[in-house]
């Protein structure tokens, strides 16, 4: 009897519990927006925390430090910590007006003295980028003057790049190395484990637009495949610019939770010809190479479409790029030029020869992308016109040494265009990179134009000079341009606001994590 009562009671109790439970949970299925922490974990290929005097990593990737000027999404130089500037009529003195009311993360005021200190520290360790500097003076609290011994038109370019980042005087040690990450930027460094991770937190006292993100963790993931898998697994939310290799794009694009972004960047890659020794000392032979190489096929088939075939040396992103230099591909014209230069297939073995010597050239490269990737199709394409290319892959140091000594006939190279002085450095007969990177190109017209360009402050005038220079460079085929790069980034779909910048700058202030409604 008791047993039966108990049994009944338990049954009723259970039913009550079930009803209660349903009621409670029914209330819960009603939609609540989940509070989302504004934290992003990003994966980068190399350590974003910088190295020796590491400011150059911070600015572009991390926004701990800022610069006097920066580049807009359209590649124009725009004010940042300097609000305006002018150049004296003789072109020797630059006057910068600095932004007022800015403080470094350690409370030190940002003013002309601080700027002068920082620039001098950087200049000592990285000489020549700021040009032939005679003096740097703080005229008043917010005005700085830089005087040169000769007009240096491209001063704004190095000032827009990471290594001249503005750091607090307290950030440096006695050797002039930045040892404490104290800048003016929207984020502060919270923790840095070298080569592992960098943690940034929001700077609530930032002078500009306050970022939405509270914390950014940047992990160093050197292996491409691992980085992509980490994104897929949700272990990181974002892969920084250039961190997604083209082969992995298909995998990511098929994933509905991931957004893949592409951007044309200034970097270009080309085939460099050793212009100081035969056979490439003959301009007709160089031109023939340009006609024989099919840039479009290389981009389409070998780079998977991730690149833009290039006719001139400057990527379309560069403000002074020549708009009309066509990509050349014409096998018949190539053969014709080679014949004119004396290269014919006398013994009909499919290989060109001249004076009894076969057209065999060496292509000395490193294994770093995209050297080998473009070297092989080039080798095949040149074989079609009767040229044998022997590819030699060397370790980076060995390759540099061989190229510097001029042991090669061809090599591959790229230009990043950061210095603003690329035409001079690469194509002037005494340009440092012309000689160290194996072109050894020499043309008196180009010499004169690039010298003039370097000293012409007026933008429009410099543009005209550079246009002419590029035309001659293309005509003389100093190098054979192949492609300009498209960089790829990827984010998980709940990360919003990221816009890829042609100069690798990450707009952390605009990025935020979108809240997702839970069912």
């Amino acid at each position: 009897m008791l047993k039966r009562i108990l049994k009944r009671a338990t049954l009723v109790g259970l039913i009550c519990l079930v009803i209660l439970g349903t009621v409670l949970f029914a209330g819960c299925t009603k939609e609540v927006e989940v509070e989302v922490t504004q934290e992003v974990v990003a994966g980068w290929a190399s350590d974003m925390g910088g190295s020796y005097g590491g400011a150059h990593h911070y600015s572009v990737g991390t926004r701990v430090f800022e610069l006097l000027v920066t580049k807009s999404f359209e590649s124009e130089i725009i004010p940042k910590l300097a609000t305006s500037w002018e150049v004296s009529d003789d072109g020797l003195t630059w006057t910068f007006h600095l932004r007022e009311g800015v403080k470094f993360h350690d409370g030190t005021p940002f003013n002309a003295d601080a700027v002068r200190f920082t620039l001098e520290m950087h200049h000592k360790r990285r000489p020549s980028h700021l040009g032939p500097v005679a003096s740097m003076t703080a005229i008043d609290e917010y005005t700085l003057q830089i005087t040169h011994t000769e007009p240096y038109a491209t001063l704004l370019y190095p000032l827009s790049w990471s290594f001249f980042a503005m750091a607090s005087p307290g950030a440096f040690d006695e050797k002039g190395v930045i040892v404490n990450a104290i800048g003016t930027g929207p984020f502060k460094e919270e923790e840095w484990i070298p080569k592992e991770k960098l943690v940034l937190v929001r700077n609530d006292d930032y002078w500009g637009k306050t970022p939405k993100l509270e914390r950014i963790t940047i992990k160093t993931i050197p292996d491409d495949a691992t980085r992509v898998m980490a994104l897929e697994a949700g272990e990181i939310d974002m892969i920084g610019p250039g961190g997604v290799p083209p082969e992995q794009i298909a995998v990511l694009e098929n994933n509905p939770e991931i957004e893949v972004m592409k951007k044309t960047v200034p970097s270009v890659n080309y085939l460099a010809l050793n212009c100081q020794k035969p056979p490439f000392d003959d301009v007709r032979v160089r031109q023939a190479i340009d006609y024989a190489v099919d840039q479009e096929s290389i981009v389409k088939f070998v780079l998977g479409g991730f690149g833009i075939p290039l006719g001139g040396v400057a990527s379309a992103v560069i403000d002074w790029a020549h708009p009309n230099i066509p990509v050349k591909y014409d096998i018949e014209r190539a053969k014709q030029l080679l014949n004119e230069a004396g290269w014919i297939d006398a013994d009909s073995n499919g290989i060109l020869d001249k004076n009894g010597e076969e057209f065999r050239v060496s292509l000395i490269i490193t294994s770093r992308w995209p050297a080998l990737t473009i070297a092989e199709p080039i080798q095949a394409q040149l074989r079609n016109v009767g040229i044998i290319v022997e590819i030699q892959v060397l370790e980076a140091g060995a390759c540099r040494k061989a190229v510097r000594a001029g042991e090669h006939d061809m090599t591959t190279d790229g230009i990043g265009f950061r210095s603003g002085n690329s035409l001079y450095r690469r194509f002037h007969s005494e340009g440092d990179m012309n000689l160290s990177r194996g072109s050894f190109f020499s043309d008196s017209r180009v010499d004169e134009l690039t010298e003039r360009g370097r000293g012409t402050i007026d933008q429009e005038e410099r543009y005209q000079i550079y246009l002419e220079a590029q035309e001659i460079i293309a005509e003389e085929t100093a190098v054979v341009p192949i492609f300009s790069q498209i960089q790829i980034s990827a984010v998980r779909d709940n990360i919003k606001g990221y816009k890829m910048h042609p100069w690798y700058i990450v707009n952390w202030v605009d990025i935020f994590v979108a809240g997702r409604a839970e069912e």
């Binding site: 190295s51 898998m229 697994a233």
Partner: protein, 316 residues
Amino acid sequence: MTKYIAKRLLLVFVIILGVTLLTFSLMHLAPGDPAEQIAIARYGMEEDLSQETIELIREQEGLDAPAYIQYGKWLNHALHGDLGCSLVTGESVSKEILRRFPATLQLALVSMIVSFLIAIPVGILSAVKQNSAIDYLGMTGALLGVSMPNFWLALLLILLFSVHLGWFPVCGREGIVHLILPAITLGTGMAAITTRLTRSSMLEVMGQNYIRTARAKGLAEKLVIGKHAFKNAMIPVVTIVGLQFASLLEGAVIVETIFAWPGIGRLLVDSIFARDFAVIQGCTLFIAVIFVLVNLIVDLSYAYLDPRIRYGRRRA
């Protein structure tokens, strides 16, 4: 015994001298301009360098001095306990090595444990049940383990267990759970070799007279194998395992790269490409010392495993 240990430890100095001298000479002979390599490692792209910066580095770091002077300076500092500063990051070399070494040690230990857990039981079982299905399975497994490239295994493990199943993290070193996939990757390769060695060693020992005697005495088979055969079979295994462990302590570069595991393998390889002499010398010195110590421990363990050696020493 103590005299023996002391003598062995003295050898450490001779070895350090030899190894670091050899390393330094090789680095010096390597092609390329060290000042340029260092500049690139410090500042990023070649484009951002000027010849002046490179010359400045050459001057500041004393790279234009003759080789024997550079080595002599380094040796002098090293003998006083100062391994110098990295030419790339400016950080103290000893600090960098000591920061990265625990990660390598952790991975090495756990990989060894994984390897043992697989290899010893499988090896013994294969030997005891020779030519049975278990034996063939064991040996095929070992063959697979030795043939698989470890980077391939690593990526597959990540793909299956991290991306698809979500059981383990992809990379990094943040918790114990991060250790598992890298340890399995390394452990499998080592287990393959150790398994085969255990099996053949056991087979050899089991064919010995004293084992027949033990059985004839009426000892349980478990004791025959576990107490008599096993210990004696372990001598060659311990040698190989010791060497494997020592080489793990050098850092498994490929696994470290794929799993973004912050060990000294990557540190050493990166510094070689950067021609960072200070770090290279410091790492090689460190690794040489570790090798000597591990070998010492292996030799001492012989004495534990084989009483003949223990008593033999005393007699001498």
